[in-house]
Amino acid sequence: MLEQEHSLEAIQDIKRMMERSSRFISLSGYSGISAGICALVGAWLAHPYVFGYRHQLINTQASLSSGPGLLLNMWLFWIAAGTFVAALLSAFFFTYFKSKKEGIPIWGNAARRLMVNVGLPLLVGAIFLFKLFQFGTFGLIAPGCLLFYGLALINAGKYTLAEIRYLGLCEIILGIASLGMVGYGLYFWAIGFGVLHIAYGLYMWNKYDRTSRN
């Protein structure tokens, strides 16, 4: 009986070590919730510009050549950039705290691999979306964000807690659905980056963070 318990313990040890060393498991549920809230605030700020209640351009005298100059002259771009940075910082903040509390190093092999595998699809997506913007295909930008982000999350599933794949899958489904309803992109964007993040964050908090405190 003692031998059996010893073996079980050893196997649990092995499992924990394999997981700790290969996956980034400190991703906090709060990170999802805070990123979702940032996205909802961003969508709310963007709303009057997207639907034409306010002028798109910051400097209305500037020329309308479609390049990086135009992008930098748009309110929407700065709202989007601000939302992205705020979401990233708040997500990082909670995850940093969690890894501190659990004594897991935040910057190791696992974190590096996660960053590379999430970053690559996002970078490709950003280049592609900029091209869409240059060609004036604005209606495809919100679906594009959802699709590339979904692919990045599915890729992330191998390097962090696996549930993130389902979030990725939902983003892709939403992205495809919004392809059929161009013009309502902001609503889909708000659901995908706001509501889904919050739902995912609550689920993960309930599953991991809450029990780990007891």
């Binding site: 073996s7 700790r20 190093p105």
Partner: protein, 99 residues
């Protein structure tokens, strides 16, 4: 019962060694500091366990530098992988036997 216990590899008796091997099974290479943080043990303790595993030919050591800091990385060998796998199935048998 006696038989199964014999199949358990003596080199993996310690939790530290089992931990090192587990980490090496799922990572192409792991460096000294990562192992130290993972297992939460002292340099000397980790070094002696690594030495023992190296002497058994279970892992390969590569000494290198990152900038000016020395960076020693460890990789599992074919022999080590095989030994770890049979240790795992011995553990499994042990649990089954007492069921």
């Amino acid at each position: 019962m006696e038989n199964i216990i014999d199949q358990l590899n003596k080199s993996f008796d310690s939790r530290v060694r089992l931990g090192i091997m587990s980490a090496l099974m799922v990572n192409s290479e792991v460096n000294f500091n990562e192992l130290k943080e993972l297992l939460q043990i002292t340099d000397g303790n980790l070094a002696s366990h690594l030495k023992a595993l190296e002497e058994n030919n279970f892992l390969k050591v590569q000494k290198g530098f990152v900038g000016r800091k020395s960076n020693t990385t460890y990789t599992i060998t074919k022999v080590g992988e095989k030994a770890f796998r049979s240790h795992l199935s011995a553990l499994e048998k042990m649990i089954r036997a007492t069921k």
